[in-house]
C-alpha cells in the first residue's frame, strides 16, 4: 500500500506526527496526540513496509521516525515470515547490520531498536531450518577482531540484544507469538548459542586484560563485555536445576527448560581454572573503577555459587573450591579494600559458604582453610568498624553495613555446622568478631562509637518517630549472629559482658547520684552535662541487647531452651562455683557485685543476669528518688525486653528437657526453689513500679505489661506469681481504677486485664480463688451494674463520668476475652455472656455516640474471635443470638439515619470492618472447632440447642444484608476491608450455598457482581477466594436441577470467565487448582455451553497444526471424564489432565 512512490508524503506525515508526540504536553491537544499515535500504529500495521522503511532509515533525520521504522520492520518480518523469501529476510538482516555499522552516531535508542529487530529475526529464524542464522556469530567475531572500539561496542550490543531476547520471557519482545514459541527458542539457544557468546566474551576479556594502557574508549568497551559476561553467568546459574518457579509462566518454561547439562564443552568452559583466573586478573586491573569492579566481583560471586552436575565428581568440586579460595585470598591480601569492593567481596564469600557443602570446606588443605577463616575474621571486623562509621556519618549508601550483614550471616551458617569442623577452630575468630562488635558499640575510651577522624560526632538531637524500629528488631540478624559467636566463645564473652555491664552500672549509679546532689544543692542554673548519662545509656543499651541474644533465643510458639553452649559453659565451671555466693550475688541487686566477698567464685551465667538486675535496680531507685526525668526510657525497654526473653528460657528451668543440667542454674531458677520465688517477686515489683512511673512512655509500658503476661501465661510461673502479695495489690489497684494505672494507654490496660485474668487460673485453694475473683472481676461487674441500673441512666448516660466508666468496662471486657485459653474458656464465657446482653442495651442507649458503638462491636468481635472455637453447641447458640440482636439493633439505629459530622465516613468504615470481622469469626467455627462439650463445659450444656432457632447462617446472612448495601467500590479500595469482605462472602458460599438462591434479588445481584469483580480485577489472593466460592455455588445448582434460576444463569456467565482465565490468560500457578475445580463443576452444569466455547476457540485457529494440537488436547481433557458428573473420582481425573492440558497448550494460546 505504501509504495515507494508516495514515500516523501509518508515520511513527512510521520515526521510531523513525531513532532506532535515529542512536543511538551502544553503545546498540543489530546486529540492531536491521539491522532499522531494513530498515524504510527497504522504505519506499523501496513503490509510489507520493508521498502519504505529502508527508505526512511536512509533519508529521515528524525530519530523517533527511525525508531518507528525499525519497529515496523521487526513486527512485519514476524507477521509475514512464511510469505517472505528467505533471501530477502537475509538481505534485510544484512541491511540492518550494515546500516548500524555505518552510522556510529545513531541515537542509542534507535540503534538498540534496530539491533533488537536483528535479534528477533535471528530468533524467528532459529526455528526455521531453512535459514542459517549461525552466521551471526561469525559476523560478530569478525567485528570483534576489527580492533576498532566502535565496532567492538556494536558487536557487544548485538550479543546483548540476542541474550536478552532469548533468555527470559519477561524480557522477550511482544511480537505476537505464542509462549511456546518463545520457550522453544530459549531451549535451542541455551543448548548451543549461549556458550558461543560466553566463549566470544571470554576471548575479548582475555585480550583486554593483556593490554597495558587502556584508553578511555577502550575501557568503556571492556566494561560492556564485562557486563555481558556477568549476564551470561547469571543466566547460566539460573539453568542449574533449582527450585521451581512459582508462577505459571515460570512453570511452563521450566518444563521445557534444559537444565545445564554437564556437557564436556561447558565443563571445559567453566571449570577451566584459566576462566576463574581471568576474572581475578580482570578485577585486579580495574578495581579502582567502581562501576567495573562491581561487574567483575559479581562475575566472581556467580562463579562462587557454581554447583550441581557440572562437577563430574567431588574431587573436582573440592579442587574448584580450593582454586577459588586461593584466588580470593591472593586478591584480598595486600590490598586496601575500596568502598566499592566491600559488597562484592562479601557476596563472593557468602555465596561460597552457602553453596559448597561443609565436607568440601573441610576437605580443603588445612592451612588454606585456616587462612580463609583468618581472612574472613579480619574482613568481618574491618567491615564492622567501617559500617559503624557509616552510621555515624549518616551515609545514604551503607555499603559496609550491607557487606557486614552478609559476612555475619555467613558466620552463622558456618558455626551452625560447627561439629563438622575441627574442634574449637572457630573460638578465636568468634572472640575477635565479638570483641570488635562490642568495641564499635561502646563509647570511648573502651570503644570507638561515634568516633570519626574529626573526633566524636553526636546524634542525640535526632528526632525519632514511632515508625522507626527499635534496634533489637532493626539489627536482629546482626545481633543473632553476634549472640551465636558469643556462645561459641562463651569462656571469653560472658565474663566480658558481665564486667562491662557491671562497670557501666556502677558509673551510672554514681552519675545519677551526682545529678541528685546537684539538684539538692540548687547550685545554680547550669546543670550537669547529660552527655555522660546518654553515653552510659547507649553503652548499656547495646550490652543488654547482645546479652539477650547470647543467653537466649526467642522461638515463636515453642518452649525456648537454654542454648547448649551456655549450658555446657555453666556446667564446665560449676566445680569451682560457690552456690551460696552465687545466690547472694543474684539476691542483692542493690549492692555492687564486686563488694560481695568471694564474688569471683560465682556462676558466670547467673552473674551476667545479675548485672542486668543491677541495672534495673539502679533505674528503680532513681525513680524513687524522683530522677525519672533523667532516666532513659529506651534503657527501661531494654531491661524489660531482656527479662522477658530470659524468663521464658531460664525461669523454672525444667531438667527433663536437657540431657545434662548445670547445678547452679537449676539451684537458682529450678521449680520449688527459693531463687525462683525470689526472682518472680522481684520481677513483679519491677513491673508494678514501671507501670506507675512510666505510664507516659507507651512502648516501655507495653514491654512491661508483656513481661507480666509472660509471667502468668504458663501455669507453673503463674503459681508463683499469685503467691506474691504485690500481685494482689496490683489487682486491687487496677480494679479500683485509681491513679496511676488508669493513666496507661488503652492497649496496655487491656493487656493488664488479660494478665490479671490469666493469673486467676493459677493453682489456689478454693477460698483464695474465690477471694481473687472477688477482687478482680466482681468489682468490674458491680461498678458496671451500678451505673446502668440507675433509674436515670438514660438521662445521665452522656455525662462524662458515666461515659468514662462505660468505656473502661468495655475495654476491660476486651482484655478478659483476650485472656481466653482452653482451660478457662468455660468460666470466662459464662462471665462475659451476661455482659453481652447488657452491651446490647448500651448499644441502644448510645446509638448516637459512634465511638461507644464501635467499642461495643469490638467486644463482640473479641469474644467471638477468642472463644467461638471452644464453645459447644448451646453456648455457640447463645453467642449467635447475642450477635444477631446486636446487628439488629445496629441496623435499626442506622437505618434512615443521616450524619453530617466530620468523621461520619471514617466511623462507618470502622463499624463495617468490625462487623465483617465479627461475621468471619462466627463462621470460622465451621473450620476450627476445638469444642468438646463434655470436657470444657462439664454439665453445663443441655443437649443440642433445644428450643433455639438461630443458626450461624441466620446471623451471618443478616449481617451480610447490612454490610452489602454499604460496600461500595470506593470502600473496596481499602485493602483490609476488601480482603475481609471477600473472605466473608467466600465463606458464605462455601458453607451455606443453599441460602444463596433465596437471597433477595438486589442482594443476590450485588453478591454475584462482587464475585465477578473480585475474580477479574482484584489481587490474586482475592481472585482465588472468588474461584473457591464458585464450586459450591455450581454444585448447589446441580443439586436443585432448576435451569431457570438466577443462580443457574449466573454460573453460565462464570463458566466463560473461568474458561478464558485458564486457557487464554497468564495466571498464578496457585490459582490453577482453584480455577480448575471451579471449571469442572461449571462444565458439569453447562456442558453445551462449554462445547460452544471450545468450538469457537478452535474455529479461530488458522494454523492447521495448532488447530489439531488444540483439538486433541481438548479431546483428551474431555475424555478424562465423560460425561462429566459431580463425582469426586472424575473430578480428580479431570484436574489431573487439566494440568497437562495447561502445560501443553496453555503456552500455545498465551501470546506475547
Amino acid at each position: 500500500m505504501m509504495a515507494a512512490v508516495g514515500a516523501p508524503e509518508v515520511i513527512s506525515q510521520l515526521e510531523s506526527a513525531a513532532k506532535v508526540l515529542m512536543a511538551p504536553p502544553s503545546m498540543v491537544s489530546t486529540e492531536q496526540r491521539q491522532h499522531a499515535e494513530h498515524v504510527f500504529l497504522s504505519f506499523r500495521k501496513s503490509k510489507s513496509p520493508f521498502a519504505i522503511c529502508k527508505h526512511i532509515l536512509e533519508t529521515s533525520r528524525v530519530d523517533y521516525v527511525l525508531f518507528q521504522a525499525a519497529t515496523a520492520i521487526m513486527e512485519a518480518v514476524v507477521r509475514e515470515w512464511v510469505l517472505l523469501e528467505k533471501a530477502s529476510i537475509e538481505s534485510l538482516r544484512t541491511f540492518l547490520l550494515t546500516y548500524v555499522l555505518q552510522r556510529p552516531n545513531l541515537q542509542k535508542y534507535v540503534r538498540e531498536q534496530i539491533l533488537l529487530a536483528v535479534a528477533v529475526i535471528v530468533k524467528r529464524g532459529s526455528l526455521d531450518k531453512s535459514i542459517d542464522c549461525k552466521s551471526i556469530f561469525h559476523e560478530v567475531r569478525q567485528l570483534i577482531s576489527s580492533g576498532n572500539p566502535t565496532v567492538q561496542t556494536l558487536a557487544c550490543s548485538i550479543l546483548t540484544a540476542l541474550l536478552s531476547e532469548f533468555s527470559s520471557s519477561s524480557k522477550t519482545s511482544n511480537i505476537g507469538l505464542s509462549m511456546e514459541f518463545h520457550g522453544n527458542c530459549k531451549r535451542l539457544f541455551q543448548e548451543d548459542d549461549l556458550r558461543q557468546i560466553f566463549v566470544l566474551t571470554m576471548e575479548v576479556l582475555q585480550e583486554f586484560s593483556r593490554r597495558e594502557n587502556l584508553s578511555a574508549q577502550m575501557s568503556s568497551v571492556f566494561q560492556r563485555y564485562l557486563a555481558l559476561a556477568n549476564q551470561v553467568l547469571m543466566l547460566l546459574l539460573a539453568l542449574i536445576p533449582a527450585a521451581l518457579g512459582r508462577h505459571y509462566i515460570a512453570m511452563f518454561e521450566s518444563t521445557q527448560n534444559v537444565t545445564l547439562k554437564p556437557t564436556e564443552s561447558w565443563r571445559e568452559a567453566l571449570l577451566d581454572t584459566r576462566v576463574m583466573d581471568l576474572f581475578f586478573t580482570v578485577h585486579r586491573k580495574i578495581r579502582e573503577d567502581s562501576d567495573m569492579a562491581q561487574d567483575s566481583l559479581q562475575c566472581l560471586a556467580q562463579l562462587a555459587s557454581l554447583h550441581g552436575p557440572i562437577f563430574p565428581d567431588e574431587s573436582a568440586q573440592v579442587s574448584y573450591l580450593a582454586h577459588l579460595v586461593e584466588g580470593l585470598l591472593n586478591m584480598i591480601n595486600g590490598i586496601e579494600i575500596e568502598d566499592s569492593e566491600a559488597v562484592g567481596i562479601s557476596n563472593i564469600i557468602s555465596n561460597l559458604i552457602t553453596t559448597f557443602p561443609r565436607r568440601n570446606l573441610t576437605a580443603l588443605p588445612s592451612d588454606l582453610f585456616s587462612s580463609f577463616i583468618n581472612c574472613l575474621t579480619h574482613l568481618t571486623c574491618s567491615f564492622g568498624c567501617s559500617a559503624a562509621l557509616e552510621e555515624v556519618l549518616d551515609k545514604d549508601d551503607m555499603v559496609y553495613m550491607e557487606a557486614y550483614d552478609k559476612l555475619l550471616e555467613s558466620w552463622l551458617t558456618l558455626v551452625q555446622d560447627e561439629e563438622h569442623f575441627p574442634r574449637g577452630c572457630f573460638v578465636q575468630p568468634a572472640v575477635q568478631v565479638f570483641n570488635s562488635y562490642i568495641q564499635c558499640h561502646l563509647a570511648a575510651p573502651d570503644g570507638t562509637r561515634n568516633l570519626t577522624a574529626n573526633g566524636v560526632v553526636s546524634h542525640d538531637e535526632d528526632e525519632i518517630n514511632e515508625l522507626q524500629e527499635d534496634d533489637r528488631e532493626l539489627f536482629s540478624d546482626q545481633l543473632a549472629s553476634i549472640g551465636m559467636l558469643g556462645r561459641i566463645a562463651a569462656d571469653h564473652c560472658i565474663p566480658l559482658l558481665t564486667s562491662l555491664l557491671e562497670d557501666r552500672v556502677t558509673r551510672l549509679h554514681g552519675q545519677l547520684q551526682r545529678h541528685q546532689q546537684h539538684l539538692l544543692a540548687e547550685s545554680g542554673p547550669e546543670s550537669l552535662d547529660r552527655k555522660v548519662l546518654d553515653d552510659l545509656y547507649e553503652d548499656i543499651h547495646w550490652l543488654i541487647l547482645v546479652t539477650g541474644y547470647l543467653l537466649a533465643d526467642d522461638p515463636q510458639g515453642e518452649t525456648p531452651l537454654i542454648p547448649s553452649e551456655v549450658m555446657e559453659y555453666s556446667i564446665k565451671n560449676s566445680s569451682e562455683v560457690d552456690i551460696n555466693t552465687t545466690l547472694q550475688i543474684l539476691g542483692s541487686p542493690g549492692e555492687k557485685a564486686s563488694s560481695i566477698p568471694g564474688c569471683n567464685r560465682t556462676d558466670s551465667v547467673i552473674r551476667l543476669l545479675s548485672a542486668v538486675l543491677r541495672t534495673s535496680e539502679v533505674e528503680s531507685r532513681a525513680t524513687r528518688a524522683s530522677l525519672t526525668g533523667l532516666l532513659s526510657p529506651q534503657m527501661g525497654k531494654d531491661i524489660m525486653w531482656f527479662l522477658r526473653r530470659w524468663a521464658k528460657t531460664y525461669l523454672l528451668v525444667d531438667d527433663k528437657l536437657y540431657s545434662q543440667i548445670s547445678i547452679p542454674l537449676s539451684t537458682a531458677f529450678g521449680a520449688d526453689t527459693e531463687g525462683a520465688q525470689w526472682i518472680v517477686g522481684y520481677l513483679l515489683e519491677k513491673v508494678i513500679n514501671n507501670l506507675s512511673v512510666w505510664s507516659s512512655e507507651p512502648d516501655l509500658a507495653n514491654d512491661t505489661v508483656e513481661l507480666l503476661v509472660t509471667l502468668v501465661e504458663r501455669r507453673e510461673r503463674a503459681n508463683l506469681v499469685v503467691q506474691c502479695e504485690s500481685w494482689w495489690n496490683l489487682a486491687k489497684q487496677f480494679a479500683s481504677r485509681s491513679p496511676p494505672l488508669h493513666l496507661l494507654s488503652s492497649s496496655v490496660q487491656r493487656s493488664l486485664m488479660k494478665a490479671l485474668v490469666m493469673g486467676g487460673f493459677a493453682h489456689m485453694d478454693t477460698d483464695t480463688k474465690q477471694q481473687y475473683w472477688s477482687e478482680v472481676l466482681q468489682p468490674l461487674q458491680q461498678r458496671f451494674l451500678n451505673v446502668i441500673n440507675q433509674e436515670n441512666f438514660q438521662q445521665i448516660c452522656q455525662e462524662e463520668e458515666v461515659k468514662r466508666e462505660i468505656v473502661a468496662t468495655l475495654e476491660a471486657l476486651c482484655g478478659i476475652a483476650e485472656a481466653t485459653q482452653i482451660d478457662n474458656v468455660a468460666a470466662l464465657f459464662s462471665f462475659l455472656v451476661d455482659f453481652l446482653s447488657n452491651c446490647i442495651g448500651l448499644m441502644e442507649v448510645y446509638r448516637n455516640t459512634p465511638e461507644t458503638v464501635n467499642l461495643i462491636i469490638e467486644v463482640f468481635v473479641e469474644v467471638a474471635h477468642k472463644q467461638i472455637c471452644y464453645l459447644g453447641e448451646s453456648k455457640s447458640m447463645k453467642l449467635y443470638e447475642a450477635c444477631l440482636t446486636l446487628l439488629q439493633v445496629y441496623s435499626k439505629n442506622n437505618l434512615g439515619r443521616k450524619r453530617v459530622d466530620v468523621t461520619a465516613e471514617e466511623d462507618q468504615y470502622q463499624d463495617l470492618l468490625l462487623i465483617m470481622e465479627l461475621l468471619t469469626n462466627l463462621l470460622s467455627k465451621e473450620f476450627i472447632d476445638f469444642s468438646d462439650t463434655d470436657e470444657v463445659f462439664r454439665g453445663q450444656d443441655q443437649g443440642p440447642g433445644a428450643g433455639h432457632s438461630v443458626s450461624a447462617a441466620d446471623v451471618v446472612l443478616y449481617g451480610v444484608n447490612i454490610v452489602l448495601p454499604l460496600m461500595s467500590q470506593d470502600l473496596l479500595k481499602f485493602p483490609s476491608l476488601c480482603n475481609q469482605y471477600y473472605k466473608l462472602i467466600t465463606f458464605i458460599c462455601e458453607i451455606f450455598p443453599e441460602k444463596i438462591p433465596q437471597l433477595p434479588e438486589d442482594l443476590f445481584k450485588s453478591l454475584m457482581y462482587s464475585l465477578e469483580l473480585g475474580m477479574t480485577s482484584m489481587s490474586s489472593e482475592v481472585s482465588q477466594l472468588c474461584l473457591e466460592a464458585l464450586t459450591p455455588l455450581a454444585e448447589q445448582c446441580a443439586k436443585t436441577q432448576e435451569t431457570d434460576t438466577p443462580l443457574f444463569i449466573a454460573t453460565r456467565h462464570f463458566l466463560k470467565l473461568v474458561f478464558d482465565m485458564l486457557v487464554l490468560q497468564k495466571h498464578n500457578m496457585e490459582m490453577t487448582v482453584a480455577a480448575g475445580e471451579a471449571l469442572y463443576t461449571l462444565v458439569c452444569l453447562h456442558q453445551a455451553e462449554y462445547s460452544e466455547l471450545v468450538e469457537s476457540l478452535l474455529s479461530n485457529q488458522r494454523d492447521a497444526v495448532i488447530y489439531q494440537r488444540l483439538a486433541d488436547a481438548f479431546n483428551k481433557l474431555s475424555a478424562s471424564s465423560t460425561p462429566p458428573t459431580m463425582d469426586r473420582k472424575q473430578k480428580v481425573a479431570f484436574l489431573k489432565s487439566l494440568e497437562e492440558f495447561v502445560a501443553n497448550v496453555g503456552g500455545l494460546l498465551c501470546v506475547k
Binding site: 542525640d460 535526632d462 546518654d534 505510664s695 488508669h742 496507661l744 452522656q798 450524619r899 459530622d901 468523621t903
Partner: protein, 173 residues
C-alpha cells in the same frame, strides 16, 4: 399543626428572654459541670476527643516521637474540630495533661421550625428553641422532612458551650 404550636411557645420565650437572660441558663442543663477535664497525654486515644488550640476536636491521628534514642516520648496529635471540620495539630510531652472536652449527644424530636430556629422537644417535656437550623444538606433535609410531616429525631452535639445539629433519623413508628 406542630409548627403553629411551636410558634407560640417561641414567642413566649422571646418575651421571657428579654426579661431575664439568666433564665435561659437552666436549659443547657449542665451549668455546674465544667466544659473540660484534664487527662495525661498517654491516656488519650485515637477516636477520642481533645482540646486543640481552644477548640473541641476528635483525634484522628496520634503518634509518638522522641528526641534522641534516650529521650522521653512526645505525643503528636491531629484533631478535627467537631463543629467546623477544621484540622488542628499539637505536640507535647506525653507526661503533660491535655484538656478533654465533655461531649454530649442528645436526640430531640423536631416539632417546629421558626425563623430558621428549630423547636425541639426534650425528654422533660420542655421545648427548646435556641438551636439554629444547620446549613447545607442537613438543613435542607430537615426542612423538607418537616414539610412532609415526617417525624424526625435530631441529634444535637454539644461541647464547650457550643452546639450543633449533626444528624437526623426518622422516628420509629
Amino acid at each position: 399543626m406542630g409548627s403553629r404550636l411551636a410558634g407560640t411557645t417561641q414567642a413566649a420565650c422571646k418575651n421571657k428572654a428579654d426579661m431575664a437572660d439568666a433564665d435561659l441558663d437552666f436549659r443547657t442543663g449542665d451549668a455546674g459541670a465544667s466544659a473540660t477535664f484534664p487527662t495525661q497525654c498517654s491516656a488519650l486515644r485515637k477516636n477520642g476527643f481533645v482540646v486543640l488550640k481552644g477548640r473541641p476536636c476528635k483525634i484522628v491521628e496520634m503518634s509518638t516521637s522522641k528526641t534522641g534514642k534516650h529521650g522521653h516520648a512526645k505525643v503528636h496529635m491531629v484533631g478535627i474540630d467537631i463543629f467546623t471540620g477544621k484540622k488542628y495539630e499539637d505536640i507535647c510531652p506525653s507526661t503533660h495533661n491535655m484538656d478533654v472536652p465533655n461531649i454530649k449527644r442528645m436526640d430531640y424530636q423536631l416539632i417546629g421550625i421558626q425563623d430558621r430556629y428549630l423547636s425541639l422537644l426534650q425528654d422533660s417535656g420542655d421545648v427548646r428553641e435556641d438551636l439554629k437550623m444547620p446549613d447545607g444538606d442537613l438543613g435542607r433535609e430537615i426542612e423538607s422532612k418537616f414539610e412532609a410531616a415526617e417525624e424526625i429525631l435530631i441529634t444535637v452535639l454539644s461541647a464547650m458551650n457550643e452546639e450543633a445539629a449533626v444528624a437526623i433519623k426518622a422516628m420509629a413508628k
